[in-house]
């Protein structure tokens, strides 16, 4: 599934990130790379962008960017 499909509160492992150019590069620089954990925090009131937690900080991405990121949802820690 893609990052955009995560529901608020869900956590996932990033599998692949596709695309190139400035946006893909910026995402990689900001920690959206395969192997990192990501948590969906919320969706903006108007439906876009998204707020995520990566590497312990809060990152905002548009849905179009989140669609490039394939993730595997993780089970919630007890």
């Amino acid at each position: 599934m893609t990052l955009a499909a995560l529901k608020p509160g869900e956590e996932a492992l990033i599998l692949t990130v596709s695309g190139e150019g400035a946006i893909a590069r910026r995402m990689a620089d900001m920690g959206v790379v395969p192997g990192q954990h990501v948590r969906m925090l919320r969706v903006a009131p108007l439906g876009d962008p998204l707020e995520l937690q990566v590497m312990g900080y809060h990152l905002s991405l548009r849905k179009t960017e989140a669609l490039r990121v394939q993730v595997r949802p993780l089970e919630h820690h007890a």
Partner: protein, 742 residues
Amino acid sequence: MRWPEWLSALTRSATEPCHYLHEQPGSAPVPAPPRGPARSAVVALAGNPNSGKTSVFNGLTGSTQHVANFPGVTVERKEGHCRFGSWSWTVLDLPGTYSLSAYSIEEIVARDVLVEERPDLVVDVLDAANLQRNLYLATQLLELGLPMVLAANMLDVAWRRGQRLDLDELGRRLGLPVVAVAGHQDRGLERLKAALAAALEAGPAALKGAAQVDFGPLVEESLAEIGAALARLEGLPRRWLALRLLEGEARAREEVARWLPDSTGLLERIAVWQARIEHESGQRVELTLAVRRHEFIQGLIEACRPVGPDPARRHRSDVTDQLLLHRWLGLPIFLFFMYLIFQLTFSLGELPMGWMETGFSALAAWVDGHWPWPAPLLKSLVLDGILGGVGGVLIFLPNIVLLFLGLTLMEDTGYMARAAFLMDRLMQRIGLHGKSFIPLLTGFGCSIPGIMGTRVLENQRDRLLTMLVLPLMSCGARLPIYLLIIPAFFPAHLHARMLFLIYSIGVLLAVGMAKLLRISVLKGEESPFVMELPPYKLPTWKSLGTQVRLRAWLYLRKAGTLILGVSILLWAMASWPPARHDAARQTELAAARAAGDAARVQVLDNQRAEEDLRASLLGRVGQALEPVMAPLGFDWRISSSLLGAFAAKELFVAQLGVVYALGETAEGSESLRRELHSRYTPLVGFCIMLFALISTPCMSTFAVTAREAGGQRWAWFQLLGLTALAWVLTFLVFQVGSALGY
């Protein structure tokens, strides 16, 4: 000045990291500043946005800052001086970046300074509460081969979140000095300075033990080969350049092609390596390298953090966000904040503006009364040209100071990123960034602070786009024009609708123009909305004061000189050459004055004024423009007044008053309305409003755009583009309207 103690206490915790700041009793003393002959060095300050880099910079340089733009771009180049014993440092504040890739203009600027100017030392300011992301830039900086010191900032926040960091271990593993600072409290700076001095003494030798990211056998093999081929480039960071080339960075390729005449073979070899690496990893090279960097950092942090963060622990910032970014409450709260800022800016600003106006008229009256020489032209120059011009510049200052107080408050607390988050969906539709919303909204008050407010945008293209369409947000100074024209031509029940129509036309045009510019002049990949939402924090008075003072000063210095020049020019055009006056009227005027017939004096004075204007350059230009403006329904009087409106939009009304020989007029002037109504049709009235809305932003807008866009080119583009647009649209409206019989 600090926040009240009870407020600071809220943000502090009992477990402050005093240990690293070496402030508890018994810690090692700060090393003494070196003595000896005076030495100087250039120190560059690098770091992520929101890492507290600015507060460290302010702490080091105090009030010695100097702000300029990097040539050709809107990125600020902040420089300051710092003395430490015999050292005298020029401290250069690089733009805040997350990496050194050459994608955003900030990254390019930071990169160019580091590679081309080669500062003697780099200080990387780290947000200790966000170490993993912050160290990413550090790994890239390390590859530059410059002596480096890490300044770990915001340890208190990290501590509060349960992130205990072993800074000594971090320093050991990276092979670099790491110093703890609390920039916003000016703590730890002496120790930082001592570390800078020590690193400078050691020079490049200090980097011998510095860590490097291991990119894996295949990449390292390729780097060795590329690095060897670059061996001829003396004094350049080879590993860094090899990495950039391997990532396929266009800028690095250009540079190598420039420096190495026979680079074709090398570039071909690089392509082979890239294919091999991509084949092995199954992903693009740059992604592979980024993954390696993040893995390296993760290993580093695990080794330096004996106690990890408690994932279940909710930060205060998150709780705040649950309210401020709430699905239903988020937008109303945002709009309320906006309302507050505008209220503060434009209502509170009116008070000092009123004082200034009174002050300037009093000054003008005093000069008028005490004028010692007979020369009336010189007197007019001083009164109308210089005093008028200086007054015109200063009058915006309260607005600018108050608005920037509001904007800095939003920026420093971290709410600005939330505003962009909330509004991005709306702005995205017109090819803009969420952060463009606030400057555009400000434009309804006044274009000047709006354009200056585009600084909150990180991307150069977004900034330009916002700036260029911003004058279409109908500013407060255009309101008097509408208030004069609408009642003159339209029945009362249409007044509000006409006003709304004019404002809406402006907004729709801004949207259309933004889209048009996006696909033409400012074409290119959409700027990434990959934005950090930094934790909320209390701003400091010091930072607020510094930011606002800098903005105010920039405005006064740059805009001031140009506005003064243009206002003197406009004055000269309006008063020269003088008209030949009818001798008979001169005697009548003298007689009326002697008889104390004020009404008659007024009429005769106004007649003189109209003759003066008709004979003046401004009037002649207006008459010369008649063939161009006639298809819009404008005669020379309207054209001359519109020219005068370039000085300030609200001057249009005053100019019309002069042109129609009615003397001083205000927008409520009934006699001027009757005059207009008798001469023109409502269609012409509408066309005047339309033209005034779209055409030539005022000269202050021109000056500020030239400054903020990094060159007069864009200001001319804006001025000519908008005026052409105004002409075409007004032409269409007038011609179609006339054909339909209006």
